[in-house]
Amino acid sequence: MSTLEIRGLEVSVITDKGAIEILKGVDLTIRSGETHAIMGPNGSGKSTLAYSIAGHPKYTVTGGSVILDGADVLAMKVDERAKAGLFLAMQYPVEVPGVSVSNFLRTAATALRGEAPKLRTWVGEVKAAMNALNMDPGFSERNVNEGFSGGEKKRHEIMQLELLRPKIAILDETDSGLDVDALRIVSEGVNRAKAANDLGVLLITHYTRILRYIKPDFVHVFANGHIVEEGGPELADKLEEKGYAEYVGS
């Protein structure tokens, strides 16, 4: 049983014109097995929340805390956060030329598990994960995210989620750019990871359609750098109907 506690999180980015405050005090607790949807308009700071928890160097935490099972996440390096059990499925996964998917996955699994996975079982694991996500077997010999279609990038992220077995996963607009079939396949992958590892999920999205496949226990409306309303799944229905108009503007 894991718990990720975000308390009063304030985050800025440094630009040429000085620091710009993006997160203005975020409070959120995610436990194993729970699925939290964070919904909000573009530019509200949803992705900043995701990247700040993962430790992206572009963001500077100016206040608050992030605690995973009693450990101070903000004091950890990026790789240590992954080892502690956090995972970020990125909206725009990065191309790494010359590094094959199979080499990347094995290196990551070795780092996270503390020893190289046994080759025979590992090959089987990867094959099963790829099959489950309807991926071509030749995929593992391609370079990480290089020349991947939008759908392939997202499947690759979810394949990592299944193979690397984190405690808490943040999915940053995993639904963007997916057609209906890909959305279903990717969502099934998330649900498998939830069932297999009692995963806690923080699902960041702009649209409600992914919530038809991944059922949230809690819905949080995010606007202007913090959570402005919270509720159960019914809140998503309200957003579907009325949009974000009432939360934005002054």
Partner: protein, 363 residues
């Protein structure tokens, strides 16, 4: 042809061709003040395959087949006693690469060396030249491809870090021939290579690629020159370099010349440099001269940059520690070119060398 060893070629450092090179580190190779020693360090490794002949032939019997304004090349042509000649007969398809080794060097004096590689009509071959150890070497390798010949030419500069090496690798491509070169330079105090190409027949293709990694104090220079003098020839150049440490200096020059007669030319050259620390300097100068507009394409690109933070973040967010992430990114950066070497042992050896160069970063 004999070239007069007059002083007019002696560089002063003001010439365009020499302006990046620290002449005082050439041990006198360029101005004739070096003491030359009789050393014939180039040797063939393994048995000769059918259709291959290797011999040393008196210089007078193997005159140079190309012109060069390079002072050290001219010196080689006028001073060597004999030429190392590798002949590959017509219609020969070699199953294995021909390996030439240069390891019996020494830095007590300079060695001058001339090499000729003749690839017969419609033959297919690979030649690998491996340089290691300590040496002061002035070298000229002329490679003549007969019509329809295909040669993969790999040179490995894995020198000890006190070596001084200047060389021209000059390929002459007749009709429908293919010349694919991979030039790897990871060692040496000063290495200055001139990979040059001359087309004498249409339908020919030169594909030049290279990798270099300079650490503190190393000067690694590659000056490519491709002369499109006939119609319908194609050239591609792709060199990648990494630099780290105080005084690490790399120079990449890519001169492509498309003459009026060279209609239908297709050329593209690319140089990418990865700066891994402060205090290192990468010079990268692509240069295209075009005398005819009737071409298929001509272009070039050059980039020099630091580690991509986004790549490191992505890898680290999957639990991979920063050193390992950097190693993956640098190996990946070079893999595109090193993977062209169809010899897994050499590939792995180079990757290990690159890892060890990388470990010096920040020390």
């Amino acid at each position: 042809m004999s070239v007069l060893a007059t002083n007019y070629l002696t560089p002063t450092g003001r010439e365009e061709a020499w302006r990046f090179t620290p002449l005082n580190r050439l041990a006198g190779l360029h101005d004739g003040t070096s003491t030359t020693v009789e050393r014939k360090s180039l040797a063939l490794k393994g048995d000769l395959q059918p259709g291959v002949r290797a011999s040393r032939i008196s210089r007078e019997l193997v005159p140079s087949v190309s012109e060069s304004s390079d002072a050290i090349v001219a010196r080689v042509h006028s001073e060597v006693e004999d030429v190392f000649v590798l002949d590959i007969a017509d219609d020969t398809h070699l199953a294995d690469a021909v390996h030439l080794f240069r390891s019996a060097g020494g830095s007590d004096g300079a060695e001058l060396s001339q090499v000729r590689i003749n690839v017969g009509a419609n033959s297919t071959a690979s030649v690998v030249v491996e340089n290691s150890g300590s040496a002061i070497l002035g070298e000229d390798i002329e490679i003549v491809l007969a019509p329809g010949a295909h040669l993969t030419f790999i040179t490995l500069q894995e020198w000890a870090n006190d070596s001084i090496h200047t060389a021209r690798h000059h390929a002459i491509l007749d009709r429908d021939s293919t010349f694919k070169s991979v030039t790897i330079t990871v060692g040496g105090s000063l290495v200055r290579l001139l990979p040059t190409v001359e087309f004498t027949g249409p339908g020919s293709f030169a594909d030049l690629s290279g990798v270099y990694f300079a650490t503190a104090g190393q000067h690694l220079e590659h000056r490519i020159h491709i002369d499109h003098g006939v119609p319908k020839a194609k050239s591609r150049v792709n060199y990648k370099g990494a630099l780290s440490g105080e005084g690490a200096h790399t120079v990449w020059i890519g001169d492509v010349f498309i003459r009026a007669a060279a209609e239908g030319t297709d050329t593209y050259e690319l140089n990418r440099n990865l700066l891994l620390s402060d205090g290192a300097r990468a010079d990268s100068v692509p240069n295209l001269e075009i005398e005819t507009g009737e071409i298929v394409g001509a272009g070039h690109a050059s980039t020099t940059g630091r580690f991509d933070d986004e790549q490191l973040f992505y890898l680290m967010s999957r639990g991979i520690p920063v050193d390992e992430a950097r190693r993956l990114v640098v190996r990946g950066f070079f893999a595109e070119i090193i993977s062209h070497i169809e010899d897994e042992e050499i590939q792995e050896r180079l990757m290990v060398r690159i890892d060890s160069e990388l470990e010096k970063v920040g020390q």
